[in-house]
């Protein structure tokens, strides 16, 4: 088990190192600097600005400086928002993104597992059809189509929730969380359904049934554990989906999270901010992937050996 953990952590570190290198060089080699778009400024001032942000040094020295900063959790200043460091921007935006992200995962798991279990227990029932429709809609209707549509119905026409922004407290977050959860509800319910149908065919379930275990107890004690293994394995990809989705959600609903900062930073070529957020996303993804593997190995000992 220890070797297993060691290997996953080592792989994760390798991925993160590659990500640091790649993001740094991509942003440096990409055409257009952070100050090339603004109005004409005299060469002296430009030189000064470049000196302040160390843009005049050779690229490898800038890279060294950046890595050195990373070790001490210093992500450097934002080149767009002059008075803020990348750390400031991230710590201001992260709570919003984490709040909607975690709620979206909770909502998606609860609804998804419930729909999947209902569908598998009573195949071809009404619940199964509802699950099927949600599955299709969630996979085929992109967030940036359903988001604005729900926004126009529930915010503009009915006025139940605000259109966007964070002025109205928790009511402002209802729609973003639901829209962000939808694609994951679809995946989780499909996954739960097919996994549960498979588990119900297992010999140990048949044995339990033969011994006279009641339906409710059987699901709780025997079936659910086997069923949830693929669902837990989906936690890693789900995080990736939530990150992707939150970029859209925060843009559509005008929420001040890091997803929106990321898009703005990419459009404005704010190198340090783009890299800071990329690394944060990368690290989050890597940590959650390792955690997912560990939980799976803990539940199913067969996964500990081999890969």
């Amino acid at each position: 088990m220890l070797r297993f953990i060691g290997r996953r952590v080592w792989d994760g570190g390798l991925t993160l190192a590659a990500l640091v290198t790649l993001t740094f060089f991509v942003m440096r080699l990409a055409p257009g600097g952070p100050f090339s778009k603004s109005r004409k400024i005299s060469p002296e001032i430009l030189a000064n600005i470049q000196k302040t942000y160390h843009l005049d040094e050779p690229v490898w020295m800038q890279f060294g400086r950046y890595v050195k900063g990373l070790v001490t959790f210093d992500l450097g200043p934002s080149t767009r928002f002059r008075d803020y460091t990348v750390g400031d921007m991230i710590s201001a935006g992260l709570p919003w993104s984490v709040t909607i992200g975690i709620w979206a995962i909770i909502v998606a798991t609860l609804i998804g597992v419930a729909l999947g279990v209902a569908g598998a227990m009573r195949r071809n029932s009404a619940a199964d059809y509802v699950a099927g429709i949600v599955g299709v809609v969630g996979v085929a209707v992109p967030i940036f189509v359903i988001g604005p549509l729900l926004q126009s119905v529930f915010a503009l026409r009915l006025g139940w929730v605000p259109v966007g922004g964070i002025g109205a407290g928790w009511r402002a977050l209802v729609l973003p969380i639901l829209v962000l959860a939808l694609p994951n509800v679809a995946y989780i319910s499909r996954l739960t359904r097919s996994s549960m149908i498979e588990t119900l065919r297992e010999n140990y379930v048949r044995t339990a049934r033969a011994k006279g275990v009641g339906a409710a107890r059987m699901v709780r004690r025997h079936v659910l554990k086997g069923t949830l293994l693929p669902v837990i394995a989906y936690l890693g990809p789900a995080t990736a989906a939530i990150i992707t989705g939150s970029i859209l959600i925060e843009t559509i609903f005008a929420l001040p999270g890091i997803g929106r900062h990321f898009v703005d930073a990419a459009l404005n070529r704010d190198y340090p901010l783009v890299m800071g957020i990329t690394l944060l996303y990368g690290a989050l993804l890597i940590v959650l992937n390792i955690a997912t593997d560990l939980i799976r190995a803990w539940i199913d000992p067969r996964l500990r050996n081999g890969r």
Binding site: T15, V26, V141, P142, T244, A266, L267, N289
Partner: protein
């Protein structure tokens, strides 16, 4: 009845099974219709999607006027723009899936066939790239390649070849140990020829199934980026940036959002049903 089932190849049988899936077949016809409309439809109009008609600015749906679904704030015909946008989105979708598929299949086939150190080194690279947040990578790469259609295309292909590579490698690994491959090698066939003539064709089933899932993924990625303003930019239309325009106008007029949105959803639905049908027909292990 027994006579015609005798001499059929596995692939032919699988296609026969696919043809019995009614939802998938309907999806293929609907998709073909949309593709034809996007590629041929704009020629049926005397104007292009970039021509502004100053007599009809922000015109509503009116089937008696020259602009059937009305125009946008610049007087550009919405229907023609949506069809032209579809042309861009669909081209990137199919071409991107094809190129990513070819790269992934070759990479996976070589890795699986070679085995040993080459294999573990090649797959290590794939694993490292897999750990990246996908959308972030696409955004970074499209910035690196300087924006525009080619940059977007390259970025999407660069990130999507990984899945086919992993799938084909695991197939190729098994195939490399089979007798007919050994026979080919004993007969003096070069490794390149073995990979191309024996390994790749034998992976056809998996490639078809997973390749069909790549198309909607590429289309979704393209429209996602265009929606955010990072992909295809005005005045050129794509479903992503049309939906974005529609979103900013939705308080007064949902039409600008609904037409491109509905077409995009229809295409994604069709592609998903087709992929499901292919999987059911080609993958006996599933279900």
């Amino acid at each position: 009845m027994a006579a015609d089932t005798v001499a059929r190849s596995t692939l032919a049988l699988q296609f026969a099974r696919f043809r019995r899936n009614r939802l998938a077949i309907v999806s293929i016809w609907l998709l073909a219709l949309i593709v034809a409309a996007c590629f041929l439809g704009p020629y049926a109009f005397p104007f292009t999607g970039e021509d502004a008609d100053f007599d009809f600015i922000g015109a509503p749906i009116d089937f008696t006027s020259p602009h059937l679904f009305g125009t946008d704030d610049f007087g550009r015909d919405l229907l023609v723009r949506t069809l032209e946008g579809g042309r861009v989105s669909l081209t990137i979708g199919f071409l991107g899936a094809f190129v990513a598929g070819v790269i992934g299949v070759l990479y996976g086939a070589v890795a699986g066939f070679a085995g040993g150190r080459t294999d573990s080194l090649m797959m290590r690279l794939v694993e490292v790239l897999y750990g990246f947040p996908y959308v972030i990578l696409v955004i970074l790469l499209s910035l690196l390649f300087g924006g525009g259609n080619t940059a977007l295309f390259a970025a999407i292909v660069f990130t999507l070849w990984l899945t086919p590579a992993v799938i084909v490698r695991s197939q190729a690994e098994g195939l490399a140990r089979r007798e007919f491959v050994e026979a080919a090698r004993a007969g003096g066939m070069t490794s390149t020829a073995i990979v191309l003539r024996h390994i790749v064709p034998n992976c056809a089933s998996v490639v078809i199934v997973y390749g069909s899932l790549l198309v909607p993924e590429v289309i979704l990625s393209e429209s996602f980026l265009s929606f955010l303003g990072i992909g295809i930019k005005e005045p050129q239309a794509s479903w992503g940036n049309l939906i974005q325009t529609g979103t900013s106008a939705m308080s007064t007029d949902l039409r600008l959002l609904l037409l491109p949105g509905a077409l995009l959803v229809a295409v994604l639905l069709c592609l998903n049903f087709i992929a499901d049908g292919l999987r059911d027909a080609f993958d006996p292990n599933d279900r």
